[in-house]
């Protein structure tokens, strides 16, 4: 159980440059190695094959960059956290940089459940020769899509095709400007009731478009009217006594 015996910590990190081509699982393995290199006193699960208590937030696809990824870990003993970002960064692959860490309150909600909104910067590029993805062309499509009331996409999961309306999770699409190959758009999406991949969103804009560079720029935990950064959403209060 998180927080019962150890000291939970939330870690914010980036995934930028060449390293964006490794998978979510590879990132997890890189962190596990970095924890061992830096001899971090992690808590381990009980049982037949003990695992370090680390849980990752939303997955990031192979090829996508991010300014704001998160993971929670649990330390078996309390250590100073000031040095932790630098120590972990030096033992992680280039491009994965720990930006900040934050001691987490006991029993803070898990990242995967708590994060309710995600922001992206998506480069929209022509899907083939002879079509255009200039800011004007993309802007027209963005307006059309935002004015629609339903946007049904076909999804294949475990061999079964289903139709889902993704319109409710589109919060914002803004044309930010031209890129060398196409147009950069800023997007904000809800994570519920369904999650939308950037490629799906681009395909919904137009079959003439496909995704170029994709970067996650932010994640949000929303509670009522509050909109919180995951790092600071559930801090352990510094003076909080560890009661029982």
């Amino acid at each position: 159980m998180r927080g019962e015996v150890g000291f939970p910590v939330r870690v914010c990190f980036t995934k930028q440059g060449k390293v964006r081509f490794i998978s979510h699982r590879d990132v997890a393995r890189a962190f596990e190695r970095a924890f061992r290199i830096e001899t971090l006193p992690l808590s381990f699960t009980q049982g037949f094959s003990p695992r370090p208590k680390v849980s990752f937030g939303l997955a990031l696809s192979v090829g996508h960059e991010s300014d704001a990824e998160f993971l929670d870990l649990e330390l078996a003993e309390q250590i100073g956290l000031e040095e932790l970002p630098a120590l972990l960064s030096r033992s992680l692959p280039e491009g994965i940089e720990v930006r900040a860490v934050q001691a987490l309150a006991d029993r803070a909600p898990a990242l995967q459940e708590a994060v309710s909104a995600v922001e992206w910067e998506i480069e929209v590029i022509p899907a083939r020769a002879g079509v255009e993805a200039s800011p004007d062309v993309v802007n027209d499509r963005v307006h059309a899509v935002l004015q629609s009331t339903t946007l049904v996409v076909e999804r294949v999961r475990k061999g079964r095709t289903s139709s889902e309306d993704i319109r409710p999770v589109l919060r914002r699409i803004t044309v930010l400007g031209p890129t060398e190959r196409g147009t950069l758009v800023g997007v904000e999406l809800s994570t519920r009731p369904t999650s939308v991949r950037p490629a799906e969103l681009v395909a919904v804009l137009s079959p003439d478009f496909c995704e170029g560079r994709v970067r996650r720029t932010g994640q949000w935990i929303e509670r009522g009217e509050e909109r919180l950064e995951p790092l600071t959403a559930d801090p352990r209060i510094a003076v909080e006594a560890r009661a029982s």
């Binding site: 060449k18 390293v19 081509f21 490794i22 998978s23 590879d26 393995r29 890189a30 596990e32 190695r33 970095a34 924890f35 061992r36 290199i37 001899t39 971090l40 006193p41 992690l42 381990f44 037949f48 094959s49 003990p50 370090p52 192979v62 090829g63 033992s91 692959p93 280039e94 491009g95």
Partner: protein, 649 residues
């Protein structure tokens, strides 16, 4: 020279596992390409996941980068999708370190560990824009080098490789760097011919274009040097003392999952067991152990630096390391780093002692344990000199199941010399008994029998043996499957058609080069991947070249036949190998020479290593598999001399 990364990056969105092509591993070097220094591209001609862990390549990568006059980078065979993308966008093969074009390097060196990757070497050269045949290259093209176990018969690749390195590469790569560097700085006088001739004088380096092969019909008459300063016989190189070479110091830690994804520490090279089918055991002699203190230091530093939680102590038979039990106990007790560290011994001997060590180091996750009795009957195991008795095997298996392992995997070869159906059915008998023993301990007990077709290799006593054909191997495998149909043991096997092609390449001569090129031109890359292998491509190519596959594969050779690799010396006397072949046919085993009088195989003589190798202490855990009755800790009489072939029956 510039990086190709901006042209490679857009291709990565469309290929499987793009991280194969990005480099960035912990331990990778920033190469220092100085003017006048020699740049090496070290290529493993298979996928990144298979090639990255290769220790030989990593060792040379470090040694070269430590030199002031050299820089080394790495490359791996691009998978089919990437190869197609590179061709479509006219991007050449590149290094993963700084994404430089392969053709910009002075030397492009390949590791050849298996025959079925030969066509991939041609594919890599072609993707690099380097002419595949040595004779077509000009002075600006890189020098193409190959090393690894396969080059002990270099002839099938002689048309494509400018220089082969026979044996341990640690020392020759430095000497070759000096030769190439001097030539390059002098403005490449005399062109390729001059530098290749100079390389031919480096001990251990074989330059095939400096040799002429003469034939009488299909038979080889001789392989002779073209010039008097080119050696008639090329001796392999051997690093005398592993303690001088604590490499890799900084093992590469890949970002994606690869085979053998753990810290690997080589504890010794060579093997004295004398298994007659095993080329590695023959060509890597003599045994050279790394000092236990150095092993401990490499494990400790390696784990601390890589963050791995598993270390493998690698060798051809790790339980034979002097004092393996105390080494392992020490590693297990002083846990390094954070969390639990697993220790594994990849080449397990078949005996109860070994299982004892395994249980010492594998406290958790006891799922599967692998043993390799190789032959199905005691008679056949004497033929192949794998002197494991049934009692040894059953004791090992009893030990495994009783200590909590649930799955036992047994490796066997079929198509061995003198093999009869009763030997093949003996595999089934062993497997049934193994399952029976397992069921006494756990209901979940299972056994897997893994069967490979035997391919005779150069520089072994079986180099004269006619390999079993495809039909015969298939018949034996089917017989075994039928016999085990109702058993809890399941059978896995290597495709006999692939075994046949391995046979063409393993004992082929220079004429096979044209076959390899035809297969590559017909699209036959990644032949070790069953979904890309097609026997007919090989048979068509053989037919087109007027070559008879059976002459190469299934024909027995005679003592006086000139073999294609006779001008390459692995250190073993040819008459030792022939005598051992004759002893084999008489089902006579040859006890492990580490604990018996020397048989004068020829290898140790040059290194004055007799006393390092011959052990006065019986093997840890007793004499299992040595062919002798030795009790642990007792003194073993050592005598050196001409005594030859005392046999056990």
């Amino acid at each position: 020279m510039t990086t190709l990364w901006p042209r490679i990056e857009p291709l990565l969105a469309g290929v499987e596992k793009p991280a194969r092509y990005i480099g960035m591993e912990r331990g990778s070097r920033v190469p220092n390409h100085r003017p006048g220094s020699v740049s090496w591209l070290l290529v493993y001609p298979d996928t990144y996941e298979i090639g990255l862990p290769n220790q030989g390549l990593q060792i040379l990568y470090e040694i070269l980068n430590e030199r002031a006059d050299a820089a080394a980078e790495r490359s791996y065979a691009p998978w089919l999708d990437m190869a197609a993308a590179l061709r479509e966008h006219a991007v050449p093969l590149f290094s993963v370190d700084t994404h430089r074009a392969a053709a910009d390097f002075d030397v492009v060196a390949f590791n050849l560990s298996a025959e079925l990757v030969y066509t991939n070497l041609l594919e890599c050269l072609d993707l690099a824009g380097i002419p595949v045949r040595g004779i077509q290259r000009d002075v600006e093209d890189p020098i193409v080098v190959a090393g690894g176990h396969c080059v002990f018969n270099p002839e099938p690749m002689a048309d494509f490789v400018d220089a082969f390195v026979i044996g341990d590469g640690e020392e020759p790569v430095g000497e070759m760097t000096e030769v190439v560097g001097a030539w390059k700085r002098a403005g490449r006088p005399g062109g390729r011919e001059a530098v290749l001739r100079e390389l031919a004088s480096v001990v251990g380096v074989y330059v095939p274009s400096m040799y002429e092969v003469t034939y009488d019909g299909p038979a080889i008459v001789a392989t002779t040097p073209r010039y008097s300063d080119v050696p008639a016989v090329v001796d392999k190189r051997t690093v005398a003392d592993l303690a001088d070479w604590p490499y890799p110091r900084e093992q590469l830690v890949p970002l994606i999952e690869v085979v053998h994804d753990r810290l690997n520490v080589e504890i010794f090279r060579g093997c004295t067991r004398g298994c007659r089918f095993c080329q590695a055991g023959m060509i890597t002699r003599p045994v050279r152990e790394r000092p236990a203190e150095q092993v401990r230091a490499m494990v400790e530093q390696g784990l601390a630096r890589t963050g791995y939680d598993e270390v493998a102590l690698t060798s051809l038979s790790s339980a034979d390391f002097s004092g393996i039990d105390s080494l392992v106990a020490g590693l297990v007790s002083d846990q390094v780093g954070c969390g639990n560290v697993g220790v594994s011994l990849p080449s397990l001997r078949v005996d109860a002692f070994t299982v004892g060590i395994a249980s010492e180091i594998q406290k958790v996750r006891r799922t599967g344990l692998t043993f390799a009795p190789e032959g199905g009957s005691w008679r056949l195991r004497q033929v192949i000199n794998k002197l494991i008795t049934e009692d040894d095997l059953y004791a090992a298996v009893e030990g495994a199941y009783s200590q909590g392992w649930r799955r036992v995997k047994l490796y066997f070869l079929v198509g061995l010399p003198t093999e009869m159906d009763e030997d093949t059915l003996g595999i089934a008998e062993l497997a049934r008994n193994v399952v029976k023993i397992g069921k006494q301990h756990t209901k979940q007990a299972s056994a897997t029998v893994s069967v490979g077709g035997f391919v005779p290799k150069a520089h072994t006593p079986f180099q004269w043996f006619g390999q079993n054909g495809v039909d015969e191997l298939r018949r034996k495998i089917n017989m075994l499957r039928d016999s085990l149909r109702k058993s809890a043991a399941n059978v896995k096997w290597h495709e006999p058609q692939a075994t046949f092609v391995e046979g063409i390449a393993s004992r082929g001569d220079r004429r096979i080069g044209a076959v390899i090129e035809r297969v590559w031109r017909a699209g036959g890359t990644f032949q070790e991947w069953s979904e890309h292998f097609r026997l007919d491509r090989w048979l068509d190519a053989m037919a087109a070249e007027g070559l008879d596959p059976d002459w190469y594969v299934t024909r027995h050779r005679t003592e006086d036949e000139v073999l294609p690799w006779d001008h390459i010396a692995a250190g073993l006397h040819r008459d030792f190998l022939w005598q051992d072949w004759q002893a084999s046919l008489a089902a006579h085993g040859l006890p492990d020479c580490r604990w018996t009088p020397c048989y004068d195989c020829g290898v140790c003589t040059d290194y004055a290593l007799e006393h390092v190798v011959a052990s006065s202490v019986a093997p840890a855990g007793g004499s299992q598999g040595t062919g002798q009755n030795l009790s642990w800790g007792a003194a073993v009489p050592i005598s050196l001399g001409p005594t030859r072939s005392p046999v056990v029956t």
